[in-house]
């Protein structure tokens, strides 16, 4: 896919096509349906979300009051929020780190000629295409307190099963692990594609210069993988920061809000407690948080690509 840039006709072509340079206005009508959908289902709700976040709307009645920035003030004094933001960052940043580490390791390993590597790739990638909710249930059977597969083993060594999903300090990391397990195949495939376009001569040159395996990785592989790293990190960040399905399946955010992410907390505030105004302000917080973190990561990593 990277090679497609090389196949593209040289840039001057674009200037010579003078006849096509002026866009006939009516042709732009072709993207009006898409724009209309955006306006109706993204821009308008986005605007309404800001309005609702300044009210005490309960989610169904026709009456509500404008209460200024009370919802946002409440956010700062809400003891659950700090913890939920922390969880969201663990889901986002934690699984991004783990996914990229594992994905890179697998890619490096499976880039060698191994007879079974096709099988390994298929198996590692399989969870990517399964619904995260179902994946969450599958791991639930593994970790659950009563009759879980892991506890079947634990019970051979001690009398009490361990309650991993009910333990607030631990369940967050288990959910992070499950998210990592499910999507590390994407990182692996991105890194594999990146590895395949590194020219062999670079490694030969490094060998002549006397570089060992570690040196080759440090000075050839790692810098050449910079574009793959950017994509893989940003993709995983966005996916992890909005985590919802897996949380719902494994702990439903509990106990309390102990393992909730911003999205699952918002869901519970809205549907569980009819606290729609507050839920809307939480949605806006989530919007700011996710776009800030992912855009920062994107800009930082892109800059790193240019100057290694």
């Amino acid at each position: 896919m990277q090679t497609s840039t090389e196949l593209r006709p040289p840039a001057p072509n674009r200037r010579r096509t003078g006849k096509l340079a002026h866009s006939p206005l009516w042709l732009n009508l072709l993207y009006v349906p898409a724009l209309a959908l955006f306006a109706v289902f993204i821009f308008y709700p986005f605007y309404k979300g800001i309005v609702i976040s300044f009210t005490n709307w309960d989610g169904f009645s026709q009456e509500y009051r404008h209460i200024g920035i009370a919802n946002y003030k409440r956010m700062f004094s809400d003891p659950d929020i700090a913890n939920v933001i922390k969880n969201t960052l663990i889901y986002g940043v934690g699984s991004t780190l783990l996914q990229n580490l594992a994905g890179l390791a697998y890619a490096l390993f499976l880039n060698q000629s191994i007879r079974t590597r096709g099988l390994a790739r298929t198996v590692i990638y399989l969870p990517v295409i399964i619904s995260p909710l179902i994946m969450g249930y599958i791991w639930y059977f593994f970790f659950q307190y009563r009759g879980g597969a892991l506890n079947d083993i634990v019970l051979l060594f001690r009398n009490e099963p361990i309650n991993l999903l009910g333990d607030p300090g631990i369940n967050v990391w288990i959910i992070t692990f499950v998210n990592t397990y499910q999507f590390l195949g994407i990182s692996m495939v991105i890194f594999l594609a990146g590895l395949q376009v590194i020219p062999k001569d670079y490694y030969e040159a490094a060998t002549i210069d006397g570089a060992n395996a570690a040196g080759k990785f440090r000075y050839v592989t790692w810098p050449m993988l910079a574009p793959s790293l950017t994509i893989s990190v940003v993709l995983n960040l966005i996916g992890g920061l909005k985590l919802f399905d897996v949380v719902t399946a494994m702990t439903n955010g509990g106990p309390g809000y102990a393992s909730a992410s911003l999205s699952s907390m918002m869901y519970q505030l809205y549907f569980g407690r009819q606290d729609a105004g507050y839920a809307a302000s939480l949605g806006n917080l989530m919007f700011v948080l996710i776009s800030m973190v992912s855009i920062t990561a994107l800009v930082f990593l892109r800059r790193r690509e240019v100057s290694p």
């Binding site: 096509l20 179902i134 009759g147 399946a249």
Partner: protein, 270 residues
């Protein structure tokens, strides 16, 4: 890991570890409820009650039909609306069109859940709750950014000389799009179908809000309702999860090259 068999052994070990949760799913779904044996042991008997019960209780037959209807409707619209939107954006890079393109693509970063509250209210207001058209339009909207991104990138690589040649032959712009560009879009259309198809088929975050009536439920929503109800009956829930996962997994195993290529090209082209 210099020797060959060592590497093969390691790769098989990795496979084994990754397959473990699926193995547990299998043993749980074939095990009778009163069987106290470990989850790691396959039952020595043949027992399908979990599957028949889960299918009946979760109304999975209905859920599958709903999933397919929503999937097909959404994909058709995504491909049509996405491909025609990308054409002017790729061919006429005026500053206005660049702005429109940026607007479409930047929406890829924003998770739809952040506007859940107002979106829900809006769907109630327009009567789109529990309806196929409502959820289809949502899926179409939120899958358009990646679709337009892929189509625009692909049309960029088609030489403009082709357009010009067709126009010299006397076909109008619109006809030229259908007779010259559209046939060339087959590979990227396959990518779009796989990429958005998997997202839509597996969707839970939208469906759980907008398809709440039992008759309108999709597979994931039906399973989560089922899970809430029969939390204690692991065998049933496991069988239901297995039936929900098998169709996609099956298609994946047959078409895996297209899947891996399609699902990652959305990313790699960035």
């Amino acid at each position: 890991m210099r020797n060959r068999s060592g590497r093969i052994a390691l790769s098989l070990l990795i496979c084994l570890i990754h397959v473990l949760p699926f193995y547990v799913l299998l043993t749980s779904s074939f095990k009778a409820m009163d069987d106290p044996s470990s989850k790691w042991v396959m039952p020595g008997y043949f027992y399908l009650d979990n599957f028949t019960n889960a299918w009946k209780e979760a109304n999975l037959g209905r859920a599958f039909t709903n999933n397919i209807a929503i999937l097909v409707g959404a994909i058709v619209l995504i491909v049509i609306i996405g491909s025609i939107a990308a054409y002017p954006l790729a061919r006429y890079k005026t500053s206005w069109n660049k702005f429109v393109y940026a607007l479409f693509v930047s929406a890829m970063i924003v998770p739809p859940l952040t506007i859940l509250v107002p979106l829900y209210k809006f769907m109630v207001d327009i009567g789109g709750m529990n309806s196929f058209w409502g959820i289809i339009l949502l899926h179409v909207t939120f899958n358009l950014p990646v679709t337009i991104f892929l189509y625009t990138g692909f049309i960029d690589t088609i030489p403009k000389e082709l357009d010009e040649a067709a126009m010299i032959d006397g076909s109008g712009k619109l006809r030229m799009f259908y007779s010259v560009i559209l046939p060339l879009l087959k590979p990227v259309t396959a990518t779009v179908i796989i990429l958005t198809g998997v997202t839509i088929w597996n969707d839970y975050q939208f469906s759980v809000f907008f398809l709440q009536q039992p008759d309108s439920r999709t597979i994931t929503v039906a399973l989560s309702a089922f899970f809430g109800q029969y939390n204690n009956n692991i065998g049933w829930v496991a069988a239901g999860s297995l039936m929900g996962a098998v169709p996609v997994a099956g298609v994946y195993l047959f078409l895996q090259r297209y899947f891996i290529h399609g699902l990652s090209s959305g990313a790699v082209k960035g």
